[in-house]
Structures are given as C-alpha cells and as structure tokens.
C-alpha cells in the first residue's frame, strides 16, 4: 500500500522511538525569531550546551519590529532589548540572522520560502504556530514551544507523537472574487477550530493544483486555526518553479537530484488517509468572521447567526459570548458593519501577489473618511519588489499607509495596535479577543481584497460589487 507524504517525510526523519512511545524526530530546518528563542538560548547556557546544527538554523526578527520607525534604538526599550538579544545569540552561535540591515528581514514564514530555505520533503520547526505555512512546499512544518526550541537547538530533534492524516480535497474553480483566504476560512468554518486536533491536513484537489505557491501558503498558514498543527500540499512543478534560482535552493546537478527526490515524497496515488473531506470550490463565497474564533465565519451574503441557531447549550454560550464581545446582533447581515481600521499584511496575506491583487482594484478609489488603512509588506524583499512595481504609490494615492516589513497589527507586539473597541477588517489569521492589542478591540478576518473593499466603503462590503470585477474578470 502506498504512503502519504506525511508518512514518508516522518519516516525519513525518525531517529528512534523514545521510552514513552513518542518519536525522536530530526528537525532539518529550524527557524527562530526574537519572541520565543531568547529563553531557549538562556536554557542552553544554563546547561552549557551548544547549538548542534547552526547551519540548519535561521533567524529573523518580525513580531516586535516597528513598521513606522527604522532607526535604532526603537522608542520601545523592550523591543530594542529583544532585537539585541537575538543579534547576540545568533552571533555567539554562528546562526544566520536576516537582520533589518540585510534587505532580507521579514515575517519568518515569508522569509523562509522566499530565500529558498523552505524545501519539499523536509521537516521545519519554529517557535510559532503558523509554521505550517511552509507545508505549502510539501514539508512537514509545525509550531513548537520554547522548551522544544531549546531541544532543537541542542539536539536538532524533538519528541513528538505521529499524527493522523486527513486529506481535504477542494475541486473546481473558485468564483471570481473568491481567494485562497476564503478557502481556508471556509474549511475552518466547516471542520471547526478543533476538528484538526491530532491530524495533519493534506490539501489536495484541482483547486490546489492550480493554486500558486503564495495561495497554497495562505491556506497552509491557517491550518492551526482549524486545530491542525501541520498542513501541506504535495510538491509539483509549481513548487519546483518557485524554488528554482532562490538563494538557498540547490544549484546545477544538485538541483536536478533534489527535484527527483522531492517528487518521490509526494503522496502515492494508492495511499489511504485516516479521513477525507470533499469540498466544491464553486460553493465557496467571500468569507468574513463575525466572532472571536476563526471558525465563526459566514459568506458575505449571509447573516450572523442568532444564539437560537446553535444546536447545543455550549455552542449557544459561545455564540452569545462572541456577539456580546463583537457588539453584533444575532441574525443581522454581516454586510454593512462599520469599520475603523483596515489591515492588509501578516504571514497569511503579506506576500507580493496579495499586494498586486489589491493594487489592481484600489486604483482610483479612496479610503473612506475616518478609516485608518495600513498595508504592511511581509518582508523587505516583498517591499522592494512592490516599490519597484510602483504599488506603494498606488496605495498611498488611495489613502493607505505603506509600512515597513513586520508582523504589525496581526498580534500587536509592536506599535501597530487597535485602540479601545475599534473594529478592524483584517487579512491576518486570528480574531481572538484582544488579539490586535486592545483588550476590547474587535477583528474581522477576510481576504485582502475584502479588506480593501471595507477600507474604501468604510464598512464590510462585497468586494465584487465595490470593485465591479465579477464581470471584468470572467
């Protein structure tokens, strides 16, 4: 019987079985950043241990970097202390650091792929739950805690339980105005925020076959929001084409050998999965979250659920809690909710294609009065290309702020934060209470185009109507 990519990559990296039954798993690529690594380096020092595979460890700084301030010391001394600590830890341990002066700094899940560090058939760990992003390349990539960051630094391995695999087949053509972000919000809405616990998600089907790498990354990125620690897409020609010629990609004969090996990791045609789900792409609508978990989403034509719609008492409690926090009325249309802030960026939607798509449509529009709209490139590389293409000018002309690379308003560990109970249309990945920096701030997740539509109308709107591209694009 055939094997899935997950099983093949797992087997190739399994070192041995531990006493408690877990696997000692080799982590081929370790990505680190300033928030979850300093304590791990501290633990290493306490035990007089060294970084075992410095050449397989890569660092960048993203969470705390201000996007509107480029000169150090930063006005926040805590942020300054964190970047200096990372600099020192990397220098002391010979770890490559994509620092702010390299032209390569950015959100760790954007930097890895664009540098060609993220490759098929590898294992990738990072002290960040959105590490599944790298699964778009056919890697087994997942988030780990700081003690495990310590374990990887010291041994290049962690102790882990093998996961089951659920294949999610999305087949068909997405309607105009429906994007990868809508696909993943739809999947989480369907399978729930804990549906993926214990599973790796294999995303497959003709929709994924046709997706670009950046679209695949957007979906894999949010696997954890559905409870799945790992999400991946089998590597194919799209993957190889993306990687060819990137700084850390193999070159010459090594490239040809690598591609052959990468192909061999793809799930076999005759393999079976622990579970399979089929989704019809044509049924997916532009999706917007109305609540406080990424699973609380509806299509733009739908209404927010009423408390009485929920079948169980615990679900009714959850809906009531979400409605109260969001200050929404159950049963009211999602369309028309007035927003205060619009944010386009993050490891979910901070890539070049996101900005190209938005630029195409916001040309000639203006951000609505009273709305603060910010666009934050995911990396310095993305920023440079976007600026060379003149996208920044289009955004500024339309009334958006064009910022420097970082995590920005996705999680507000930097100056970009909501104030009070502001409502934010956001292309990021989490709408948890207080996620965007204000304990009462409210987040609605949606695609970058839908954020742009909300920005220019001042309320949650159907981008297809606002930009009139249903007819233009068909």
């Amino acid at each position: 019987m055939g094997k899935s990519l997950f099983e093949k990559v797992w087997n190739a990296h399994a070192v041995r079985q531990l006493v408690n039954g877990q696997t000692q798993l080799l982590i081929g690529t370790h990505l680190i950043h300033e928030v979850t690594s300093p304590q791990a380096f501290g633990m290493l020092r306490d035990r007089d241990l060294k970084v075992q595979y410095p050449h397989r460890t890569f660092a960048t700084v993203d969470h705390i970097v201000p996007t509107n301030e480029s000169v150090e010391p930063y006005s926040d001394p805590l942020a300054q202390g964190m970047i200096e600590e990372l600099r020192k830890n990397c220098a002391d341990n010979n770890v490559t650091f994509f620092d702010t002066n390299t032209g390569k700094q950015g959100v760790v899940h954007i930097v890895g792929p664009e540098q060609g560090i993220t490759q098929p058939g590898t294992t990738i760990a990072c002290g960040d739950s959105h590490t599944a992003t790298h699964g778009a390349f056919g890697a087994i990539a997942f988030g780990i805690g700081t003690s495990q960051v310590r374990d990887v630094l010291a041994t290049q391995t962690i102790a882990l339980n093998e996961l089951k695999v659920r294949r999610i087949n999305v087949n068909g053509t997405l309607p105009p105005g429906v994007y990868a972000k809508d696909v993943v919000l739809h999947i989480i809405r369907l399978l729930g925020t804990q549906g993926g616990t214990g599973y790796a998600y294999e995303y497959a089907g003709t929709t994924f076959d046709k997706f670009t790498m950046e679209e695949r990354m957007t979906v894999c990125n949010m696997s954890i929001e559905g409870g799945a620690r790992v999400g991946y897409v089998n590597p194919d020609e799209t993957t190889f084409e993306y990687l060819n010629g990137r700084p850390y990609s193999p070159k010459g004969a090594a490239w040809d050998a690598a591609v052959e090996q990468w192909k061999s990791f793809a799930s076999d045609a005759d393999c079976t999965f622990d579970d399979e789900v089929d989704i019809d792409a044509s049924q997916i609508q532009p999706t917007v979250t109305w609540g406080i978990t990424p699973g609380q989403g509806v299509g733009i034509e739908e209404s927010i659920p009423a408390i009485s719609d929920a079948p169980t008492q615990s679900e009714r409690d959850s809906v009531a809690e979400a409605l109260e926090y969001m200050q929404f009325e159950g049963g009211s249309p999602i369309k028309g909710k007035k927003i205060d802030v619009a944010f386009i960026g993050s490891c979910t939607n901070g890539r070049l294609s996101d900005f190209q798509e938005v630029a195409k449509y916001v040309k000639g529009h203006k951000v609505a009065e009273g709305v603060q709209a910010i666009i934050v490139p995911g990396s310095q590389v993305v920023a440079k290309i976007a600026e060379d293409l003149g996208l920044d000018k289009i955004f500024i002309e339309a009334g958006f702020e064009w910022r420097a690379a970082g995590c920005s308003m996705c999680l507000a560990m930097n100056p970009d934060k909501l104030v009070g109970d502001q409502l934010c249309a956001s292309s990021s990945n989490r709408n948890f209470k207080g996620r965007q920096g204000s304990p009462t701030g409210r987040t609605m997740l949606m695609s970058p185009i839908m954020v742009a539509a909300a920005a220019v109308t001042g309320e949650v709107s159907d981008a297809r109507d606002v930009f009139g591209f249903a007819s233009a694009e068909v």
């Binding site: 190739a12 990296h13 399994a14 070192v15 041995r16 531990l18 006493v19 408690n20 039954g21 877990q22 000692q24 080799l26 081929g28 690529t29 979850t36 300093p38 304590q39 501290g42 075992q52 969470h63 705390i64 805590l78 942020a79 202390g81 964190m82 058939g121 590898t122 002290g127 590490t131 988030g143 780990i144 805690g145 700081t146 003690s147 495990q148 310590r150 010291a154 041994t155 962690i158 102790a159 925020t193 804990q194 616990t197 954890i224 409870g227 193999p250 090594a254 978990t293 615990s314 959850s318 999680l411 560990m413 934060k417 989490r430 948890f432 209470k433 207080g434 996620r435 304990p439 009462t440």
Partner: protein, 200 residues
C-alpha cells in the same frame, strides 16, 4: 531532565468558564516583550481578570474564595492558538499546576506536559459537576490521579483521560525530554547523514 514523578496532583480548584480559551486570552501578546519567563504569572488571564485600566472585573479568578486554587477547570479546546510556551509558563508561575478541560489544543498540551503541568480531559457533565461542587465548597480538595485516570473531588470521583505518552512521561518523571534526546545524538547524525539537505 529527570524530575520527580507526578502521579497525583492535589489542590483546590477554580472554574474558568468558556470554550476555545485561546493563548492570547491566557497571556496577551503585549506582555510577551521579555527575554525570560520570570514574572509572567502576574499577567495570566490579564484581560479576563482586569479592565484595560487595571480595575478588577467580576470573575472567579479574582474571587477571594478561590485564591488558594492550583487547579483550573475549563471548557473545550483549551489553549488553542499560538505555540507560545508563555501560556503554560504563566499558568505555572501564577501557582497553578493542572488543568481539567473538555479537550486541549495540541501544541499547548505538549508545552504544558514538558513543564509538568498536568492536563487531563473530563466530560462536559463531569466538569459541570466538579465546577458546581467547587462553587459550593471552594475549600474542597481535588485530586487528579494520573496513574488511575480519575479525578477525586471530596470523596467522589469521575473518570478522566490523558494521552498515554504524556501519562508515561509524568509517571516516570521524564516529562522534560531533553536528556533522552541528547542520548540519541549518534542516531541523529546517522539520520541527518542520509538527507542531502542536511549537509553543510
């Protein structure tokens, strides 16, 4: 690091209502601008317990009747969201060493177990019974019997679940895997040697 085996955890309980208690709720990101975990206990459930300006809200976590609690009782999908170990670190540093929930998010569960924070699963009905007993008698001892899959409250008990691997690790005191991983170094270089991308 081999530590003292954890066979049982005994303490008073406090009920934290709600499903999908995420890691941003457990420890808001704005308190993670630090390079050590020291002091994180102070910010556990900060925005659940206090208003933005620091006034205490009405919540079990602020109720003096539950001030002695060391076991949290909560809903489904506890610890969802971020991989931040800051979450179980803040739980531990605030004086709690066990969580009873309907289910746990995977990364949170692993991070907690590595620190010796005991996470066990109990049914909705059983958690409802336990939390109402806590409400009636806050001074009541709760004992999580890891070895025998039981939660005792007063002289009564309900069953609980814990992943077999985590249970073994707690019972043997080997829940921090680093020493065992270090022993495997020879096997690591062999596995790495067979993978072209691992070569320097």
């Amino acid at each position: 690091m081999s530590s003292t085996p954890i066979k049982k955890v005994t303490g008073k309980g406090v009920f934290v209502p709600g499903d999908d208690i995420d890691t941003d709720r457990i420890i808001p990101a704005r308190f993670m601008k630090c390079i050590t975990f020291d002091g994180l206990g102070e910010y556990l459930f900060r925005d659940v317990r206090k208003t933005e300006s620091g006034e205490e809200k009405k919540h079990n976590l602020n109720d003096p009747r539950f001030a002695e609690a060391s076991i949290l009782v909560s809903g489904n999908n506890f610890g969802c969201g971020s991989s931040r170990e800051h979450a179980p670190q803040s739980i531990l540093r605030a004086g709690y060493n066990a969580v009873i929930a309907g289910s746990f998010a995977e990364i949170f569960f692993g991070n907690s177990t590595n620190l010796g924070v005991v996470c066990v699963i109990a049914s909705d009905t059983d958690r409802k019974i336990i939390s109402s007993e806590i409400e009636k008698q806050p001074e009541m001892d709760i004992t999580i019997d890891v070895e025998n899959h039981k939660i005792w409250y007063g002289d009564q008990s309900v069953p609980c679940e814990i992943k077999p691997g985590a249970r073994d690790s707690l019972l043997s005191g080997n829940y921090d895997p680093l020493d065992e991983l270090l022993v495997g170094a020879g096997g690591v270089s062999k596995t790495a040697g067979a993978l072209p991308y691992m070569q320097a």
